[in-house]
């Protein structure tokens, strides 16, 4: 098993400083849709200028470099203990190099660890053994502002008139977008999970955010829901930064899980416009980033 510490460091650098092309393209389209001279268009101009500058200077797109969330798919026989150690070393090194802000705060004492290493759950690392030969590592840096506006609903919800069906899901997700206003750094991307228990549901809502903005859900019902939600959310006209305008969300990604007969959870993870998501694939001696 190779030492991948340097490769992980590059994954963190790339994720923090270089916005994925599909997200940037989506922001550019959003910019074209706003009224010339509006606060919304001006906000998107600033956002796009910042994206280019961060890429050029290799500095963080956003100062809140968030919770690093790693999803690791590894072939049989790899040591997850070693991989975890290498990832943690890379995260501490990335903090030293100012690709990451020190973000791990002890909740009891209030002390910041200074190197982004907290208890074993910080940074978050999920492992899954797969059949293939490649090691695939997805990373999301999820900031606190947008994490704070995430929401979980239990259907039915009387206040919103939301029943236990996809129409009910639509209603509660719109409520979450309304409650977020501009506080999650709109225009955001919504990860939506339907079903599961409270824990697995939130987990799946984050997993959904690893999909590219321009892909289509393989489930036709969920694909329809994603499109409808994107259109409806944009009718709220909260707009970039909550200044009012055409684009409130860049996209919606939904996922369904089996549930207990008694439970029907809808979990919404709101990702800010700075949707920092990257993938690293180790294929033999080669390491590919996308």
């Amino acid at each position: 098993m190779p030492d991948l510490t340097e490769a992980f460091l590059e994954l963190v650098r790339l994720t923090s400083t270089d916005l994925p092309p599909d997200v940037e393209a989506s922001l550019k389209r959003a910019r074209e849709q706003e009224a010339p001279g509006s606060a919304a268009q001006s906000a998107l101009d600033t956002i796009l200028e910042n994206v280019a500058l961060a890429r050029k200077n290799s500095t963080p797109i956003c100062q809140d470099t968030g919770t690093p969330i790693f999803y690791v798919q590894h072939p049989p026989g790899w040591s997850t203990t070693k991989l975890k150690g290498q990832i943690r070393t890379a995260v501490a090194e990335a903090t030293k190099k100012t690709y990451l802000r020190p973000n791990a705060v002890d909740t009891i004492t209030g002390k910041n660890s200074g190197d982004n290493l907290g208890d074993p759950a910080f940074p978050t690392i999920h492992f899954e053994e797969t059949e293939g030969e490649d090691l695939i590592v997805d990373l999301i840096l999820k900031g606190g502002g947008c994490e704070n506006v995430g929401a979980q609903y239990s259907l039915p919800n009387g206040r919103l008139g939301a029943g236990r069906d996809l129409e009910g899901v639509r209603k509660v997700v719109l409520d979450a977008v309304f409650n977020a206003q501009g506080k999650g750094c709109a225009p955001g991307v919504l990860g939506v999970a339907i079903g599961g228990d409270r824990g697995s549901s939130y987990y799946a809502s984050k997993e959904a955010l690893f999909r590219k903005l321009d892909d289509e859900n393989a489930d036709s019902e969920l694909a329809k829901l994603e499109n409808r939600l994107t259109q409806d959310a944009n009718q709220l006209r909260i707009g970039p930064m909550g200044f009012g305008g055409e684009t409130t969300v860049l996209g919606v990604k939904a996922k369904s899980l089996h549930r207990l007969p008694a439970s029907y959870f809808v979990s919404v993870s709101y990702m800010c416009w700075a949707h920092r998501r990257r993938r690293m694939t180790v294929h033999g001696d080669e390491t590919i980033y996308e």
Binding site: T46, I47, D64, Q181, K183, Q235, L236, G244, A274
Partner: protein, 206 residues
């Protein structure tokens, strides 16, 4: 784009209206969750006694905040090992968490400009009318760009709060922001919330 120099006089504040673009130049501080709680507990409500360097830091902050600005920001800072600090990334953090504290902090220190993102609520809006002051919205996530307007980090207080939560005293030039809450009761955030609520009700009924 209106250029504003810190400290700010009342007539300048009163002339600002929701929607105005401004650029700020001068010395300001960063302060977010831990700082606001510390200010309220130690100096406004006085529910805890000053300890350590609290009194000293308070005296150092007073002249900067009198007519000055507080920036809701937890920056990425280079030079932590040498003390030759510089800001690498410094966009705004979500301001609403300071809503329980902000109005009282503005009154106590005579703060004229609160800078952040996402807007604030009725208590802060009322303080904007009284002090008078404004809420300036910076572009969330535009951290590399905004860091370029920070000419120099003059000093840091309360670094034991952690890098994001410390009080960084910074000299800025042409710091860009938009007035989204003014001293006449105007708030973009109230407007957008009201119209989006009407839209939401329509969408829930459909």
């Amino acid at each position: 784009m209106q250029k504003i120099t810190l400290p700010i006089k009342d007539d300048v504040i009163r002339a600002l209206k929701v929607g105005d673009s401004v650029s700020l130049t001068g010395v300001m501080i960063t302060g977010r969750d831990a700082v606001h709680k510390w200010m309220i507990d130690t100096f406004v409500k006085k529910s805890r006694k000053p300890a350590g360097d609290d009194a000293e830091v308070y005296e150092a902050l007073k002249p900067i905040l009198d007519g000055g600005a507080i920036y809701h920001c937890g920056p990425v800072v280079a030079g932590l090992d040498t003390g030759a600090y510089s800001f690498v990334a410094a966009g705004p953090t979500t301001s609403i968490r300071e809503e329980p504290y902000q109005g009282d902090v503005m009154q106590h220190f005579n703060i004229k400009a609160v800078i952040g993102k996402g807007g604030m609520g009725p208590k802060t809006l009322e303080a904007c009318s009284d002090v008078p002051g404004v809420y300036l919205h910076a572009i969330g996530g535009a951290a590399s760009l905004i860091a370029q307007s920070v000419q120099q980090v003059l000093t840091v207080h309360k670094l034991d709060f952690g890098v994001p939560e410390a009080i960084w005293v910074i000299d800025v030039k042409d710091f860009p922001a938009v007035v989204t809450m003014d001293s006449h009761g105007g708030s973009v955030h109230v407007e957008v919330e009201t119209q989006s609520k009407a839209q939401l009700d329509k969408l829930l009924a459909s």
